[in-house]
Amino acid sequence: MLKKIELKDAVGTKLAHDMTEIRPGEFKGAAFHKGHTVCNEDLCRLQKMGKNHLYVIDLDEGEIHEDQAAAILADALAGDGIVWKDQPREGKIKLLAEKDGLFAVNTAALAAFNMVDEVMCATLHNHTIVKKGELVAATRAIPLIMKRAPIERAAAIARQNGGVLAIRPIRKAKVGLVITGNEVYHGLIEDRFAPILSEKVKALGSEVAGVAFAPDDAALIRKAIRSHLDQGCNLLMLSGGMSVDPDDVTRQGIRSAGAGEMHYGAAVLPGAMFLVAYLGNVPLLGVPACGLFHRITVLDLILPRVLAGEKIGKAELAFLGHGGLCKDCEECVYPHCPFGKGT
């Protein structure tokens, strides 16, 4: 429990917690740290901070201090690739990415964790690409002293499925591109898809192992896909032929190449006609023509997740709907915008 003492009686006692000082527009931070022994010189500054009383800690059995609680919470929240230091500042512990990768949040478990009284954790959005050392979350227990049991229940919730927070490494894939369309194949227009897709692939650390061109002919599209697979490509990307036109036979080609699972349509604009298929374990992403026009599309939301090993199915494509509408701003500031942040 906490005992309240008057400031005048506080000289010689140790502070129970960091004392935050806020000078508007100038400073916010710990003016005094936990454990500091109050001396006469401190009294004036403490009064200016509005402190006329201080707490002295007297822990009962079954009670813990916020710093201990924060460490228990941080330890439980941190899954693969998340690190933290047991150096709470003002009761908070920061959780950092241990490596480059895709930040993954179990959002249901995070909500359940935050529903426990007296604890909190705030994170970056799920599926954010992060660099080693980047701050991804912070946690704290809210009161200075609390019962241990609720903290441990919150920790148990946080630990489910290996921790609420994780960094999934983004693998380096060997990507095979298939550019479809008679107009490109027959040289009527110059292909612009291959450079755009290649740039996105390289930006995520993967390599384009080969680019194949195919006309709107299911058999030839099939052949191009099989050829990439034979050469060891472990991720395929196809462009064009995804719409409802009679000439758009790309899906037939993918099916005949042996795709078992195929999901056509994503709740994203731009990118409604996006396709995800799996040929054995090899993912195949079908990029509609919007990828030529818009800088950022559904592909930018899904490609990092695929490279981070996530299996994309109907539900994943459907859940993108909330937040899946690009505002098509004059100046695109993605990823610093709401696009794709709803899941």
Binding site: T107, A108, A111, A112, M115, R153, I157, A315
Partner: protein
């Protein structure tokens, strides 16, 4: 104990329908029994060790009773009318007791755990299967003092109401101004204006020396008496 899904199916059948409360109740009972070390509560050697206090008369109560096998008439099921989604599981052999409380947070979290389901009841049903026990419940270790007169077994004590003569079992009598009264006479009953009546077919009985039905009750009366 049987698998969760097997228990849920039989519980829903016994209760009359499958609902989120059944999922919570089955899981509450499984957890409670595990906590007190009686994992086969319906087995002969364990059933006599178990007492369960349910704090609500909702679907969940039926599921708890079904999974554990506790019964009101066996005095192993106690109804405490608190309106709280909770039940306490007592091991009479060890004295251990745990109170399992269904969290209100679980209701708010259903949409997070089953976002693909729009129907509220179906969403809760699915979500309550997906949530870990830590989200669905809080558990308290408690001490339960059970009076001898509340234990299973034969009636240990009978009193007689000094006003109406009614036999009152198990120390449920009330002392008012030095007199022993049954609760109705002490005005502690749930009913009022009690007036004795007669009813048609007053002499019907399920068994007698010849076949009878309500229709020929009159004839049966002649034959049976």
């Amino acid at each position: 104990m049987e698998d969760f899904e097997v228990l849920l199916e039989s519980s829903a059948e016994a209760h009359g329908h499958l609902c989120p409360g059944q999922v919570v109740g089955v899981r509450m009972a499984m957890l409670g029994c595990r906590m007190i070390g009686l994992e086969e509560p319906r087995r002969h050697d364990q059933i006599k060790k178990l007492i369960v206090y349910v704090e609500m008369d909702r679907c969940t109560a039926d599921a708890v009773a079904h999974v554990t096998g506790v019964k009101l008439g066996r005095r192993s099921l106690k109804f405490m009318d608190y309106g709280i989604m909770a039940a306490t599981f007592v091991n009479l052999a060890t004295g251990e007791a745990y109170r399992v409380v269904s969290t209100e947070a679980a209701r708010s979290l259903a949409s997070a755990y089953a976002p693909e389901i729009a129907d509220k009841s179906l969403q809760q049903l699915k979500a309550y299967k997906r949530m870990p026990d830590s989200v669905l419940f809080r558990v308290q270790k408690v001490r339960v003092k059970i009076n001898e007169c509340d234990l299973p077994g034969p009636t240990r004590y009978k009193a007689f109401c000094s006003r109406c003569g009614q036999v009152v079992r198990d120390q449920r009598e009330v002392i008012q101004d030095g007199s022993v009264l049954c609760k109705p006479c002490a005005k502690e009953s749930y009913f009022t204006d009690a007036a004795e009546v007669t009813w048609p077919d007053m002499n019907w009985k399920p068994e007698c020396s010849v076949t009878q039905s309500r229709k020929d009750a009159k004839m049966a009366e002649t034959n049976c008496y």
